[in-house]
């Protein structure tokens, strides 16, 4: 048996350790998030997708026109987690929710917290709360809370 100090060791990082562009549409969406603004893309028929979609999945039309939506919106569905797991970003009870932002026709998946499950229903009004540091990521929105 070899002594443990003879073992060869190498670091192993399981990660995508490369950078990539998020493309012309999503780049604008994320830049705006960095300025605490939420954008959507608008189709020629007037349908607004937020988070910004690059194309309309029904018509395949490429989407370029961007408009501001939110920061308030309506809960379209939610799942309530009383005991968050280690990988969840919020350590208190919270909901994953589909939120249709004001001015948008589709919903954004995000989180709602600082309330009880019984306070939340489909149709509840919520508003975006911003993270302390803006990184141009979807997590620049820290979570949503019920509108008072």
């Amino acid at each position: 048996m070899s002594d443990s100090k003879d073992l060869l060791r190498a670091p192993f990082e399981l990660a995508y350790n490369y950078k990539r562009s998020s493309g012309p549409v999503m780049s604008k969406f994320f830049e705006a998030l960095g300025h605490q603004k939420i954008l959507g893309t608008k189709s020629s028929a007037g349908k607004v997708f937020s988070p910004a979609a690059e194309f309309d999945p029904e018509t395949n039309e490429p989407l370029k026109e961007m408009i501001e939506v939110g920061p308030g919106g309506v809960v379209e569905s939610f799942s309530w987690i009383e005991d968050p797991k280690h990988h969840h970003l919020i350590k208190e009870p919270f909901a994953f929710a589909l939120i249709k932002l004001d001015g948008a026709d589709t919903s954004m998946l995000h989180m709602v917290t600082q309330c009880n499950e019984a306070d939340l229903r489909i149709g509840s009004r919520v508003k975006a709360n911003w993270s302390e540091i803006q990184e141009q990521r979807i997590t620049d929105i820290k979570f949503f809370t019920l509108e008072q």
Partner: protein, 351 residues
């Protein structure tokens, strides 16, 4: 379309934790059982296709190791889908339609016990808008459950009945992982995982493998006197933009039903890849299956091997047609959150 038949199917007993058994050791028994049952070897197979998920093993190209379970010398024609093995069967169908093969071996395998499946499935989502939020698979399914409940498309009683019936049906499935029966009070006292879904509404973490052999009409009768014909197969996917989908219905499934001419088929039995209790009553209603036995095997709620459970729905439908007086069977496989991607397979036994 060339006629293609399923001529054999084998399933590993579904395990809670396969322990030291690696993927190769899970695959070998089912492939060899099939070969022995049919009296053939890898030499009789023109095309081999597998389905698995490298995320489960946590290494790129992990699926290649699975090939150690079969004979690859002299060189074989082989492919892999990073999907449920139901889609490996679809690729094999295409190979036979193209005239590149007359016979195909399909296998799927998954070992979910070593990792944290909820965290792993989060990583498979849209990397820009969804993955960074770490939504687990149960919470995503629960979003659809709440929409269906809110719109009275399904009821909590149907979810309860689905869980009780799945466990009762596990007696028909010698490979089922969950076989203990439960009653209403067990269900109602169970803690929520992600409301409205509790632990019993969710499938068990499962390890296992399955294999299937399909063959063209010319070859099928060399393998068996009773092939089960793949009369129709169709699969369609919805947007990866979860919030742009209508979770109360499935336009893509309806399109598949039209494509397969559902109006004119009277199905006798069905096996659906419904992993959560709300999905079964939803799909039964969408697919018009209210009056026939569905998931006689217990379905994914009594054993849900990732990357196999869809192939298992096809395999269990094949077994039901072979062993009973049924003529038309429907199998369903799914992939992605909230039934995003669905495959329907119409199987027929010729009496």
């Amino acid at each position: 379309m060339k006629k293609v038949a399923i001529v054999g199917y084998a399933q590993h007993p579904i395990l809670k934790n396969a322990g030291a058994l690696n993927e190769v050791e899970l695959i070998m028994p089912v492939v060899h059982q099939l070969f022995n049952d049919l009296g053939i070897s890898q030499k009789d197979i023109d095309f081999t296709c597998s389905g698995s998920c490298d995320y489960l093993q946590g290494a790129a190209f992990a699926f290649v190791e699975g090939l150690s379970a079969i004979q690859t010398h002299p060189p074989i024609k082989e492919s892999h889908v990073e999907m449920d093995a139901a889609w490996a069967m679809y690729e094999s169908m295409l190979k036979i339609q193209m005239g590149d093969a007359e016979t195909a071996l399909i296998y799927g395998f998954g070992k979910s016990s070593p990792g944290d499946l909820d965290a792993i499935i989060s990583l498979q989502m849209d990397p820009y808008y969804i993955s960074p939020l770490w939504p687990d698979r149960v919470s995503l399914a629960a979003l659809q459950a709440r929409v269906l409940l809110d719109q009275n498309i399904i009821t909590p009683e149907q979810m309860l009945a689905t869980v009780i019936e799945a466990r009762a049906n596990s007696k028909n499935n010698k490979n089922a992982l969950i076989t203990d029966l439960i009653d209403e009070s067990n269900y109602l006292n169970n803690a929520m995982v992600s409301s409205p879904l509790n632990q019993l509404d969710c499938p068990p973490i499962s390890d296992g493998s399955s294999a299937m052999i399909i063959a063209s009409e010319e070859k099928a009768y060399e393998f068996t006197d009773h092939p089960i014909w793949i009369e129709g197969i169709d699969h369609r996917i919805e947007s990866s933009n979860l919030g742009s989908r209508n979770l109360a219905t499935s336009k893509t499934l309806q399109a598949s039903m039209n494509q397969l001419n559902f109006k004119n088929i009277k199905f006798d039995v069905a096996e659906l890849h419904t992993q959560f209790s709300h999905e079964l009553p939803f799909l039964k209603s969408l697919l018009n299956l209210q009056d026939i036995p569905v998931n006689l095997s217990g379905g994914p709620l009594v054993g849900n091997v990732m990357m196999c459970a869809g192939l298992d729905a096809i395999g269990k439908t094949y077994e039901a047609l072979k062993e009973n007086q049924f003529t038309h069977g429907l199998a369903h496989a799914t992939s992605g959150p909230c039934l995003q991607h669905n495959m329907l397979v119409h199987l027929e036994a010729q009496k």
